[in-house]
């Protein structure tokens, strides 16, 4: 059951990857990368359940966090040309 | 005051994360929550106009079921529009007046708008909301201001 869900989510990520590669604007790419990040978080949680290792959830939480901060940083750079 | 509350919230969060009750870990939990609340107690409880209060928190929790229902409706609508072969979307940008007094209220309304039927918040400032809508109906329902009224109820009367 978890395996099927994981495979479906990977397929979704591949679809979004098409948008990340094609663009046409840098914002489309940022959006696509952010969504792949969210899917990765879910995937990590599912993998934790498949292999029965609950510590994967810690990694999923960290990934959600880093993904959020990275997108905000990227947007700030796009908007102001600096980070401070 | 905000120091104590932050430390308590942080310690509860620590227990939830850790789930270990050995002496060393509990001690480091106490120490960590004191450290965090020393560093950033003014951030979570907030000074001035992003203030969280007990009453506001309860009113916010009462708001959640309605929001969740709206999110489900939004997604069914979006699924229909995505999978329909002709893609019946009429995107446009609308502006409406911002009646809210607190920053927190604006944030709640903006994120609720982003999560619900065919609408995305583009810009928030003191005077107005700029929103991108996907269809005519969602634009109408937003202009009618039901959601704003509900968020205003969370804010309460006093203007902090």
């Amino acid at each position: 059951m978890f395996e099927i869900a994981a495979i479906v989510i990977v397929l979704g990520a591949i679809l979004v990857l098409y948008r990340a590669l094609k663009g046409p604007r840098v914002y489309d790419r940022a959006l696509a990368v952010n969504i792949i990040g969210t899917k990765t978080v879910i995937l990590l949680a599912l993998i934790g359940f498949i292999y029965e290792r609950p510590h994967f959830l810690d990694i999923a939480l960290v990934y959600a966090l880093i993904n959020f901060i990275a997108t905000i940083a990227f947007l700030k750079y796009m908007e102001t040309g600096g980070l401070d | 005051m905000s120091f104590v509350i932050t430390a308590l919230i942080m310690f509860i969060f620590w227990i939830l994360l850790s789930g270990e009750f050995s002496f060393i870990l509990i001690l480091s939990g106490v120490f960590s929550s004191l450290l965090v609340s020393y560093m950033s107690h003014d951030l979570l409880i907030g000074e001035g106009n992003i203030k969280l209060g007990i009453k506001r928190t309860f009113r916010f929790i009462r708001y959640l079921p309605w929001l969740f229902w709206q999110i489900v409706m939004a997604n069914l609508d979006l699924v229909y529009r995505t999978l329909h072969p002709k893609m019946p979307i009429h995107p446009k940008i609308i502006k409406f007046k911002n009646d809210l007094n607190t920053d927190l209220g604006m944030v709640i309304l903006a994120n609720s708008i982003t999560l619900t039927p065919g609408t995305i918040t583009i810009e928030v400032n003191e005077n107005e909301f700029i929103v991108h809508t996907l269809s005519e109906e969602s634009a109408q329902s937003l202009i009618s201001g039901e959601m704003q009224a509900r968020v205003k109820k969370i804010e309460g009367k006093y203007n902090v």
Partner: protein, 105 residues
Amino acid sequence: MDIQAIITGILLALGCFFIVVSSIGIVRFPDFYSRMHPAGKSDTLGQLLVLSGLMIYEGFSLVSVKLLIIIVFIFIANPTVTHALAKAAYVSGLKPWKKEEGKND
């Protein structure tokens, strides 16, 4: 089959459905602003459904509390990121697509 596993299966299936539809939407929609709609909504609901499915499978334990923390975190962070992206694009002067004018992207 116990009832817990069935509920988990249903929630996982629904969540995967929303996630796939949001992916299709991101590929299909004509311009940046309309692509944000599936990104901001379906993905949030999809993760909510999948992770709460896992929570029900696990029962009440620390693992499910951690899953709840992830759900709340994504629930706060995802609309914020969507809004920040929309604002950045709007400030940079990107015009939204209109049905009558045809494609400009």
